[in-house]
Amino acid sequence: MTLKGAFLAASALVSVTATALSAEVLTIATVNNGDMVRMQKLTDDFTAKTGHEVNWVTLEENTLRTRVTTDITTKGGAFDIMTIGMYETPIWGANGWLVPLDDLSADYDADDILPAMRQGLSHDGTLYAAPFYGESSMIMYRTDLMQEAGLEMPKAPTWEFIREAAAAMTDREKDINGICLRGKAGWGEGGAFITVTANSFGARWFDENWTPQFDQPEWEEALTFFVDMMNNYGPPGYATNGFNENLSLFQQGKCGMWIDATVAASFVTNPDDSTVADKVGFALAPNKEGVEKRANWLWAWALAIPAGTQKEEAAKQFIEWATSKEYIELVAANEGWANVPPGARQSLYDNPEYQKVPFAQMTLDSILAADPNDPTVDPVPYVGVQFVAIPEFAGIATDVSQEFSAVYAGQQTVAEALEKAQALTLDAMEAAGY
């Protein structure tokens, strides 16, 4: 036995006894999307390394959000780790409800986290949640249909081009919709999409004095454009379509174009699930001709530790494991590079293996195109691209997106919806003391 071998064996022995002493059971609340489900399957690797066991609480996004919010605001302590997003993290961090993640180990290499993600998950420069994956939005389109239509997708198209292409690709006989977009009510669903669309038309949620801006012409233009395009070239009943519904439609070959989260790229190009896997192209999210902002959002699902947990050390170990470079390699080894959690680390995009993945560069470009600190053409007092990072936003935006969905369903006009949105936002902001 070499000296090195003996040393390794001894240190392994030490680490085994050390972990055996402090083995904990962590309760982790998470969202039921593909990457998180994959992480659950790989938990054994974490348990083998640290001795800690994990209990998963997997919930659908909206249920998860209400569940963890109730627990954190009441300091319930039901969870040791919570999966939260860019909207919650700065607000909770500011309230002192999360354990700061500023002392992660050197191996973890926190500086490798993409700056956009890091900023979005920090408050006052302190990281409060570690990104498991990050996303922006981009255009996914059918290369074959585009060719048939005699068009070529530019790398950075405008909304005008998108509408033209949608018109050309729509084929009602063959059940092909030119474009599929989110219309479902909910601030994280259709609400997010219409907000970035509005950004790319030069609109904004609030002016510098926190006055709602739905009475401005930019909003009317954006909403009218969206409704008009979707009514003509969108799928039937798009008012109830969210991310999952559109993904399913696209995978079945029923959409010419789909503008949505960059993480969808790995699902639509996966031949196991997608009938159009080898016919998908990617492009930057569009803007209105002449408007400098594009319809890119920025989001990350991240892991955070509620302050006051008894198992802080073990929880940090888990977070380091789940958001590490090694984890990415573990997934790559098991499921291939196309399925690793994207958008969190620079090193992933420097990896030549990953650069071969067709959507890698476009994902990074999209993420870099979004700036939460300067999301709109006109200045705004808030942070966040497709959301406004204030506690009242989720409630307001859900109400507003319900008014918009009613427009999509043909139950009211654009003008009526905007008027109601303006009134209810004013009312809610007044109640919050702005």
């Binding site: 309760t27 609340a29 039921n32 999307n33 593909g34 489900v37 659950q40 399957k41 209990n55 998963w56 609480v57 997997t58 919930l59 659908e60 996004e61 249920t63 209400t66 569940r67 109730t70 627990d71 009441t74 300091k75 319930g76 302590g77 039901a78 969870f79 969210g242 991310f243 999952n244 993904l247 399913s248 995978q251 079945q252 699902f267 699930d273 997608s274």
Partner: protein, 276 residues
């Protein structure tokens, strides 16, 4: 004496009733069938009904993701536990209301029912804080108590109506024979009340099994029942009809089977005193 029914009339009845029955049952049947299809077959156009390659892969996929047995066990404990506890508390109350009625009996009953009208979500924060204080969060005992309280009014009312059907003379006769209150309950009342109690228990197990607000919001990993299990399947990514169906079947199968085996009991007993 019932008239002889012509075969023809009976055949028409049968055909019609079966048609309606199958129509009502169809959503469940369709879910069961879909759970054995592949995801592609689940959305095929035109839909395939019976002739597809039956597969168990969806069940395997669901089981791989969630520990079904633990959710099931919690559901059983919570539903059965809350019902039994509720029945133990309700039997004496219902007994005294039925046999020693006062002017206020009706008021008390209606008041009990009215406690069910408080919208649950309005009191989520108070109850959540209370549970933290008591250390009941994510425990079976906490949920057993909450569901017991939620269903107690229904249990009391159902039992009350059954007990009222029991003729008072029998009790008086027993008393004449020198039976004590205890004997009266054990030897006279109980045997007559068993069918009513049984169907009360059945109905309340169903109600507790299907309660989805408190069971979801007061649990995390340890005490989460099947309502939480299904909450992780409501919008997975991509094609999911087959997996959703498999998860649905797993969530409802135990209670469905229990219901079917005891349907005679349930049909006989579900009157709430409506029969007069």
């Amino acid at each position: 004496m019932a008239r002889a029914v012509t075969t023809q009339r009976k055949a028409i009845n049968t055909a019609f009733a079966w048609g309606v029955g199958l129509l009502i049952f169809f959503p469940i049947l369709w879910t069961i069938l879909t759970s054995f299809k592949t995801e592609a077959q689940a959305i095929s156009d035109p839909p395939v009904f019976l002739f597809f390659d039956w597969t168990l892969e969806n069940y395997a996929a669901v089981q791989e993701r969630s520990n079904y047995a633990r959710f099931l066990w919690n559901s059983i404990i919570i539903a059965v536990g809350s019902t039994i506890l509720g029945t133990i508390i309700a039997v004496p109350a219902a007994w005294s209301m039925a046999f020693v009625p006062s002017k206020r009996t009706k008021d008390i009953l209606l008041w009990m029912l009215s406690t069910k009208m408080l919208p649950a979500v309005g009191v989520l924060y108070p109850i959540y804080l209370l549970f933290i204080r008591l250390g009941w969060l994510d425990t079976q005992i906490g949920l057993v108590l909450v569901l017991m309280l939620i269903n107690l009014p229904i249990i009391v009312w159902m039992l009350y109506t059954y007990f009222r059907e029991i003729p008072g003379e029998i009790l008086e006769a027993a008393r004449m024979d020198g039976a004590s209150l205890k004997d009266e309950i054990i030897y006279v009342l109980t045997p007559m009340a068993v069918p009513g109690i049984a169907s009360t228990i059945l109905l309340n197990i169903i109600l507790a099994w299907n309660e989805a607000f408190w069971t979801l919001n007061l649990t995390a990993a340890n005490a989460a029942p099947l309502t939480a299990f299904i909450a992780s399947y409501s919008s997975p990514e991509g094609l999911f009809y087959a997996k959703l169906s498999a998860a649905s079947v797993m969530a409802i199968a135990p209670i469905l089977i229990m219901g079917w085996f005891s349907q005679k009991q349930l049909v006989r007993g579900l009157t709430f005193g409506a029969v007069k």
